[in-house]
Amino acid sequence: MIHALIARDARRALAGHAWLPIAFFALVVALMPFAVGPDARLLARIGPGVLWVAALTAALLPIERLIEPDRADGVLDQLTLRGIADESVAVAKIVAHWLTFGPLLLVAAIPGAALLGMDGGALLRAELALAIGTVALAALAVAVAAVTASLPRAGALAGLLLLPLAVPLLIFGIADAPLLETAVALLLTAGAPFVAGAAIRAGRT
């Protein structure tokens, strides 16, 4: 059932909302040369930071689609009745969300890095950092989605909740410290299913 849930969520995302954050990411990155001017050295220097900020903001877009539709439609209830723990549902949703968010974003970062004039080494370092970071971002997105499910204007609130939690990822990702970034990512990814599971349970009425 967990595999079926991952497959279902991934299929639903690819049929629609998965493309929105990627397009948003590409657009933000593409705006940057216009915003700061054609100074290639400056662009290359701020390039990794631009990729990260674009990734963080793009991660906010799908949040309202991650949990709330399934809560409102009774899917979460029916899963519980089949004996699946809310935490397991959260894990499945994190996996499905990362699969439809992380790889696409990493691909979109390649032309993004070229637009910003980053060289091969910088691109490689940024890709590694984003590969680790997107896992934690996916986990955070699901946890925040569960916490804000059923609230009005959940999207805006979700941004306020997610971005501060993502700051350590950003710091270690930019600082080229993959081990520390991995440690933070592990912590966030391991904690997220429990937060999400508890939030789903608490949200039952």
Partner: protein
């Protein structure tokens, strides 16, 4: 210990209101129990408590494997009905036929009427083969043909040793024990 559902001295509080106090009941194979009561008297909450989706403030609820049909459709709107239902598994084809929606198998869920969706959720319950059925307002949006088909399905389920707990303010087909949750709107 053959009861499929047992409430022992159960109290349930929702939003600061005590909906049920010290309720004990038992549902054995072949039995059907209707919870009636006015809007807001806690019928749906009692069903969700029986399902394990809510926890009792006091007392114990024991339940066997069960299936729930309520107003939440829990089907992917973009997928054809049969594909959306198959996510939930079970013995689907006879259930679709019994509820008269086999011809809708290829129609996307979003195009179905509320009565057709109600039949689909009831078909999911039947397909689950669970011994205990929990039905929250099963007659909502059902036409007379749907009513007949539900009646047949309920008889078959009970004859096969199943039990049903249903919440409805309308009379249900067949003979039911009844609990009235009474006043409070």
């Amino acid at each position: 210990m053959t009861a499929l559902l047992r409430f022992s001295d159960v109290s349930l509080r929702r939003g600061g209101r005590l909906l049920v106090e010290g309720m004990s009941l038992e549902l054995r194979p072949g039995e059907a129990l209707q919870i009636s009561g006015r809007n807001g008297s806690g019928k749906s909450s009692l069903i969700r408590l029986a399902a394990g989706l809510l926890t009792a403030e006091r007392g114990e609820v024991e339940r066997s494997a069960l299936a729930l049909a309520d107003d939440a459709v829990a089907l992917d709107r973009e997928r054809p009905l049969a594909a959306a239902l198959s996510f939930w598994g079970g013995d689907l084809e006879p259930a679709l036929a019994d509820f008269g929606i086999a011809h809708l198998a290829g129609v996307p869920v979003r195009l179905l009427s509320s009565g057709q969706l109600k039949r689909a959720t009831l078909a999911r319950v039947q397909a689950s083969r669970a011994p205990l059925w929990l039905l929250d307002e099963p007659l909502n949006a059902l036409d007379s043909d749907g009513f007949e088909r539900l009646s047949v399905a309920l008889d078959k389920h009970r004859a096969g040793g199943g039990a049903v707990l249903a919440a409805s303010h309308q009379p249900l087909p067949g003979d039911w024990r009844r609990i009235d949750l009474g006043q409070s709107a």
